[in-house]
Symmetry: C2
Subunit: 249 residues, 2 copies
């Protein structure tokens, strides 16, 4: 089996995400079923798009490696970043077959995705109710993340939002073996932070400096570093409900 770019395709039974502490392992039997369902792989260079707003797609993806953002472009030229996607996340379930995508998905780092046929879903979950339940669980988790973002945008100040986002990303990175300790090497521009949190670029910049001065968050172009996670969580009253391992396809 070969992926689109010619590299050999990873067999789900040897999925590199197995064993990652934030992700829940499958039985070998389930892995075989996922392998049957998997159609191929897609590798994206940083900056490229997996979905384009307005288009339709016959596929659903899963993140095998890398980090991506999902965003909506508005009429007035601004954009709202909706969420970040880490390994194991299911991307693109938001639309039904006949509906055009309402957002774009872009790779923040070089990324690799597993490709599944959108219209095979019903059969897939029919023959694997446990995996079907996992998909529901993932959708619920994604929704839950959006809830947190809503709370951040609705009830928190600029500095709190930024600190919240830093912790959120760090924790997602930790759970998916992308971050080490308090440090997440990930290239996020201040413009992207602003577009995610509903802030202007200038104010984002000043808030970042304030957070750095206070020793709470050090967020540079290439790295997010939180010196004392507990203090930072306290600052944003981050709900530290210990997440259960996520299922993934």
């Amino acid at each position: 089996m070969r992926a689109a770019d010619g590299k050999s395709m990873i067999d789900c039974v040897n999925c590199p995400l197995l064993g990652c502490p934030g992700l829940r392992d499958h039985t070998v039997e389930q892995l075989r079923r996922i392998r049957e369902f998997k159609e191929g792989e897609l590798s994206l260079d940083r900056g490229l798009q997996a979905f384009i707003q307005g288009a339709q797609s016959a596929h659903v993806y899963t993140v095998l490696s890398g980090v991506l953002i999902r965003y909506r472009l508005l009429d007035d030229g601004t954009r709202q970043i909706i969420n970040f996607h880490f390994p194991g996340d299911l991307v693109g379930l938001q639309a039904t077959l006949s509906e055009p995508m309402k957002h774009s998905v872009e790779a923040l780092t070089d990324a690799r995705m597993c490709v599944f046929p959108r219209d095979g879903f019903i059969d897939f979950i029919g023959s694997n109710p446990h995996l079907g339940y996992d998909v529901i669980w993932l959708a619920a988790k994604e929704e839950s993340a959006l809830e947190e973002h809503l709370v951040a945008l609705g009830r928190r100040s600029a500095r709190e939002r930024i600190a919240y986002l830093a912790i959120f990303l760090l924790e997602r990175g930790q759970g998916t073996c992308v971050a080490e300790g308090n440090r997440l090497r990930l290239s996020v521009t201040q413009t992207q932070i602003a577009d995610m949190l509903g802030l202007s670029l200038v104010h984002t910049n000043r808030s970042l400096q304030a957070l750095r001065r206070d020793g709470l968050i050090e967020w540079t172009l290439n790295e997010i570093y939180v010196p004392e996670i507990e203090a930072a969580k306290e600052f944003v009253s981050f709900d530290t409900a210990l997440d259960q391992p996520r299922p993934f396809l």
Copy 2:
């Protein structure tokens, strides 16, 4: 069969939501399966809660009639309303079995819910993959609504947010036979609007007055009225992607 309050329970085959234009009908066979899965009914007086933040629940609900809000209470005493629920919506799927709820759900009007056992889900979708897919579809739709709210909070001014919410509620009401024409009789306080949109009560009040002056939205305690929907949609650049009928349980 009797519901918890002694009234006779509605048979899914005669579900009053069948035929509602925004909802997709099921085959009789599917209705029978839903009936088997349905555990009972719950009726809630206005102001009562279906879920309480921090508690666990063995049930998942579906809205049979009425309107509810889902919200999160924060440490500092404020709250963020996450979404409104209309007939046909699936409520409470956000948590897995073992996780406590991260939000409360409260009836905005007298409401009636169908009750399903949370731990019967896997079997249910296993024997009814189409219905399982419907559940995924509903979860994706809910997520899609949260995305819209995020865009509103992130990128729009106070007045635009309020107008957006009015249109959102009106459209949901229209699709579920709760609204007639441009008018939705629903009791929403200004405090609730503020808690949904991340605004202060005072500013919400002033923005409402401005919208009324401009003839865009007339939103009183008991009714939302949008004189000219197209003009209002224009004002908020409301994405009027025609929704497909929603599946429901």
